[in-house]
Amino acid sequence: MSDARPAIDLAREFIESWDPATPREESLRARYDAGLAWVAQPAGLGGLGCAPEDQRGVEAAFTAAGFPDNNALANGIGLGMAAPTIFAVGTDEQKERLLRPLWTGEEIWCQLFSEPGAGSDLANVATRAVRTGDGWVVNGQKVWTSNAHNAVYALLLARTDPDLPKHSGLTYFALDMRDPGVEVRPLRQITGEAEFNEVFLTDVFIPDTDRLGDVNNGWLVAMTTLANERVSIGNSDAEVEQTMVDVVERTWRSAPESTRRRTRDRFMSLWVDAKVADLAAARMKQQLEAGKPGPEGSALKVTFARLAQELSGLEIELLGADGLGYGDWEMVRPTIVEFTGRDAGYRYLRAKGNSIEGGTSEILLNIIAEKVLGLPPEHRPDKGMAWKDSPR
């Protein structure tokens, strides 16, 4: 079912009848129920079933009206990864129950994927989920979990059948982080902050109604999630955020060091690369919209990481003596992470993670080489072997 009237008209109408005195959460729930959360999604689930392009106008109308936002930056994994996955494989009951509080930001999500023994080799996940009655009992350890300390739900990838080859015995779940068997310990990183955590799971119970997708089909679901990572729904905030080149360009304009010819050329090389990367990203978006998706997202991330690192490194040099300070090293546990936030020292250190998180640059280059260029795959001694027998 889709309303014949344009989404933007419905949004304006909704805003007109909205009382700014309405409490924040209530306003957001009402917006969701009016189908104006992510307009491309089906009616009844926060959408109107209209074209994805309509989202931008609707978003702008709400922003202009001073409508409370759903704090999308604090729930990037929820909106960017959990929601598309639930839309893709969730049952009607799951969609009904999970999506609304996810979108309003009442329930923050995190992602329990990586483990000490399963980083780049994600399919090597060892956390076990064992069937019991009407649910599953989960034991294991997860790591690098951003936002686990704020999350109400987690996307969990766990091993349900160790007798199958490693990609085949995995199942995907929504895990309630309030379960008493969930222990979240902060992991402090080189910036001094603790953005991410270790998560210990001890006899955590998950009802079968929180399983996402079929049993032992978790790898495929996880790949859907990862493919969706960059196609965010209902969130245009990422587009207005300043980029690293903007920040460093500002520093460059005022830094005496930038009058040196070599420094200028170094900066301009990076500036050119960054502007071309923007064009490459725009071109990828156009390809996606034309229905020609490709693995170009991997390429963009490799470029983005390199530029963020080189630009932030150059910025400290531009600042000279001013670059020797550092805000403070206090261990805070941030809710929102901005790569371009804080000071130059923080930006430089945080950027080091860009080529590691969400797939290392090396793994992404493998993906390009094998999936795009069709080069022969890496040697994999565990191929086809039962997971429990594979070398680790």
Binding site: R253, V276, Q287, V302, T303, E370, P376
Partner: protein
């Protein structure tokens, strides 16, 4: 940044027919002959391109008898010409000189370029992106005198467009090089598929095309179009280098496995793919924006040139290296690409030159 950076169906179709034509007329064995003094490949290929497909007039307005295409389509032709290192004066005549003449309003001369029977060249060194501090020939009483070095596109030229100074005023003079007062000395060139020549004028009779601001903006328009289209040539060239390298490393076995399965090589090719893809976005952007002129066009072309020229060189160098010994041979076409890419890198301003110009745009004055 809302320019449409994809290829349209029309452009894909154009590419397909140009590629087929060039496969027949510019096989690498024939292109290589240009290095051993056989220039017939250039004239044969030029005839094929201009007669069979009327490409010489592709970007010329329909009212002047041309194909009426925009730089978007012309850029697709340039990509294909780059892919085979076609030894024809398309960039110098059909892009740069044509744009200069159109800008001068020299409609009658533009009409002669449509079918390729006339070939024009703007007589500036191939390295020129702006006239800046070049020493130009002078004109007095309708006669041009002076020398210009390293001019590309002279080999088939029947019309020279000569930037010449009348006192301190820039003018553009049309000269037919057949007359005895014009000398064209072809040089043994680093890139024999786009050889350069030294051109001399001794009281050569000329017809004035433009002067002052008109002449300046005509030259600027020509070189800007040239920069934009050169970026697409570089994309096509780089794409061929990457494709042939990937194909070779898949079938070349050492240590009992294809060398393309080694991560050290895979990562080099993956990085190159990222660079070529980015170059394509930059070149498409320049091709879309160049026709409108103005600051936006200048930045788009500067960006494309600052990026694509180095990518083409990288691609050609990787192509030679990853082919191993065979890449070093005269027989394998990799050297054609390396020589063109390296010459293209200094053509129409080096990347460093373009970065300086872009930096001036960034610094508030």
């Amino acid at each position: 940044m809302s320019a449409d950076l994809l290829y349209s169906d029309t452009e894909d179709a154009l590419r397909e027919s140009v590629r087929a034509l060039l496969a027949a007329t510019c096989p690498s064995e024939r292109v290589t002959e240009a290095y051993d003094g056989d220039t017939s490949v250039a004239s044969d290929a030029w005839r094929a391109v201009s007669d069979a497909m009327e490409l010489a007039g592709l970007g010329i307005d329909e009212s002047l008898g041309g194909g009426g295409a925009t730089s978007r389509e012309v850029a697709v032709v340039m990509e294909e010409l780059g892919r085979v290192v076609a030894p024809i004066p398309f960039l110098t005549s059909s892009v740069i000189a044509t744009r200069v003449l159109v800008s001068c309003g020299a409609d009658d001369l533009v009409r002669t370029l449509v079918d390729g029977s006339a070939v024009a060249v703007l007589t500036v060194p191939l390295t020129t992106m702006d006239l800046g501090d070049l020493t130009l020939p002078t004109v007095a009483g309708g006669l041009v005198t002076g020398r210009v070095h390293a001019v590309a596109g002279c080999e088939l030229a029947t019309l020279m467009i000569v930037p010449a100074l009348d006192g301190t005023v820039l003018t553009l003079q049309a000269i037919e090089p057949q007359s005895g007062s014009t000398s064209v000395t072809m040089r043994s060139s680093f890139d024999m598929t786009r050889p350069v020549a030294d051109v001399g004028f001794t009281a050569a009779p000329a017809t004035e095309l433009a002067r002052g601001a008109d002449a300046e903006s005509a030259v600027r328009a020509g070189l800007l179009a040239g920069g934009a289209m050169l970026a697409s040539e570089q994309v096509g060239l780089a794409e061929w280098c990457l494709e042939s390298t990937v194909a070779y490393t898949k079938q070349r076995n050492q240590f009992g496995r294809p060398i393309g399965s080694f991560q050290a090589l895979k990562h080099r090719m993956a990085r190159l793919w990222i660079a070529v893809n980015s170059a394509r976005a930059a070149a498409r952007n320049a091709a879309v924006l160049v026709d409108a002129g103005g600051d936006e066009a200048a930045v788009a072309v500067g960006l494309a040139q600052a990026y694509c020229s180095d990518v083409a060189v990288l691609a050609a160098e990787e192509c030679v290296q990853l082919h191993g010994g065979i890449g070093m041979t005269w027989e394998h076409p990799a050297h054609l690409y390396l020589k063109r890419a390296k010459a293209d890198q200094v053509a129409l301003g080096t990347a460093a030159h373009h970065r300086v110009v872009l930096a001036e745009g960034l610094t508030p004055t």
